[in-house]
């Protein structure tokens, strides 16, 4: 029972980890918590639907188009909002992210309707029994995709100089500029990558939930995962995501399914009260 529970919880945890990574990347790079990030998750999934239903391409091509379009969206957000606001107050930039999210969400409500759309699974949602555990291929696909992305990001950030240059720019802009990093280009890359992550998360999570304009609320869980991980640590965000998935599943199974969605809010409040630096963010407090 417990083993089954842990396996199942990994699916949700993997998606939370992806969203948390997006939050942390943007926050480290630009100092902004992107309050519209959840709406970008939703928008990414809708992009697939739009490509399927209005452009008329098959599912796989629609996914490719959605990924490309979301990269363009990230670049546009950076160029149209974040560049002009780069010297504005933090509050102004936070409100801008909120406005971007609201605009995306309400555009979807206006043009795609307020009702839920069915969204295809990547693989079959029918469970298969393997060694006493019920495994769902669709969920395994989600975990697989997330693992590939995490491995790719890890290799990029830890093993390449270009990746380290991005981390360096997140830590010290002036220092990065002095070693030859074009800091504005780093921010552009961060917005593009974070937008890409949001769309991948949206595509993965849409079949599990229902795809409606308000699906972006799921991002509160990615946000909680990021806070749990310290909000400045990329590995922390991943561990926070997986941990939140497990805690949710345990709560749902052993206490009450009604509490399952509440637990992330409880964790969010508890972490902020007791350990605001998160599980891994020992440095974050000193930096402020």
């Amino acid at each position: 029972m417990l083993a089954q529970l842990l396996v199942s919880s990994l699916t949700a945890g993997a998606v939370y980890a992806l969203i948390a990574l997006g939050f942390v990347l943007l926050h480290n790079g630009t100092g902004v918590v992107h309050f519209g990030y959840g709406d970008q998750v939703t928008f990414g999934a809708y992009l697939v639907l739009i490509a399927q239903n209005f452009v008329g391409v098959p599912f796989s091509a629609a996914i490719m188009m959605a990924l490309l379009a979301s990269m363009a969206l990230g670049a546009a957000i950076y160029a149209v909002f974040m560049v002009p606001l780069r010297n504005a107050s933090l509050l102004a930039r936070l409100i801008a992210t909120l406005a971007i999210g609201t605009a995306l969400r309400e555009w979807l409500r206006a043009f795609m309707g307020p009702n839920a759309w069915p969204f295809p699974f990547l693989l079959s949602p029918a469970p298969v029994e393997v060694g006493g555990l019920m495994l769902v291929p669709a969920n395994l696909a989600i975990i697989g995709v997330v693992l590939v992305i995490l491995a790719g990001l890890y290799l990029f950030f830890e093993k390449t100089l270009q990746g380290k240059a991005i981390l360096a720019a997140c830590e010290n802009r002036t220092g990065a500029s002095l070693i030859g990093v074009r800091v504005s280009r780093v921010f552009l890359v961060i917005w593009v990558v974070a937008s890409l992550l949001a769309t991948v998360a949206g595509i993965l999570v849409a079949p599990l939930l229902t795809l409606s304009p308000d699906m972006g609320l799921i991002a509160i869980k990615g946000f909680t995962a990021a806070v749990l991980g310290g909000f400045s640590s990329l590995p922390g965000a991943v561990v926070g995501g997986l941990l939140l998935g497990v805690l949710e599943a345990l709560t749902g199974a052993y206490i009450s399914t009604a509490l399952k969605d509440m637990i992330s809010y409880a964790i969010l409040i508890a972490v902020i009260l007791v350990r605001p630096q998160g599980l891994f963010g020992g440095l974050a407090l000193k930096k402020v």
Binding site: L167, A168, E171, G175, S177, I179, G180
Partner: protein, 232 residues
Amino acid sequence: MLSLRNVRAGYGGKEVLHGLNLAVPRGAVVTLLGANGAGKSTTLNAIVGLARCSDGSIELDGVPLTNGTPDQALRRGIALVAEQRELFGGMSVSDNLRLGGLLRGRSRAVAEDFEKLLDTFPRLRERLAQPARTLSGGEQQMLAIARALMARPAYLLLDEPSLGLAPRIVDEIFDIIRRISGEDTTILLVEQNAMLALEVADYGYVIETGEITFEGDADALRGSAAVQESYL
């Protein structure tokens, strides 16, 4: 030749340099002396684009540099070791150094320079895997200099390398500066410790409230009554 002509520069509308003239010929070691707040750091910052230039021109070999960014200056061969050192504190000494060679890509020459610099700064070799923020002040200064040298700059701008360091460490750092200048790197050295600076420099400028008030050979500066009175 790096030249500044009638440069007015500062930060956010507050002018610090009021028409500054200065030239650094290739191969020389030039020092810029002055009291706290005279505009020494601002001069270096204006060269790489960390301070805004509102008037005048900054040129390298006749091609303007005015109001670029530090990464553009580095592409032109000018590296700044800032007063704040601007290291990546959470990253290892090794990563900091390797990032210094970012613009040169991956090549055997970069790997050789990495080893060579560790020979020059043996203390850094002992601390390769440590996060930069755990280093002592002197070691951080060495890392900042070594990181800048990884880019193989033609011009090295040094902002107060002796600041806040123990005399023994300062001697060590100035030995290294002497060695670097012997290796075909042009140096513009900003210092409060005029005595030390004039030991390594060929030529010097004295800056007071944003303007050059005196210039000459190192010997002339050492002999000048005004310099002796104020700075030695």
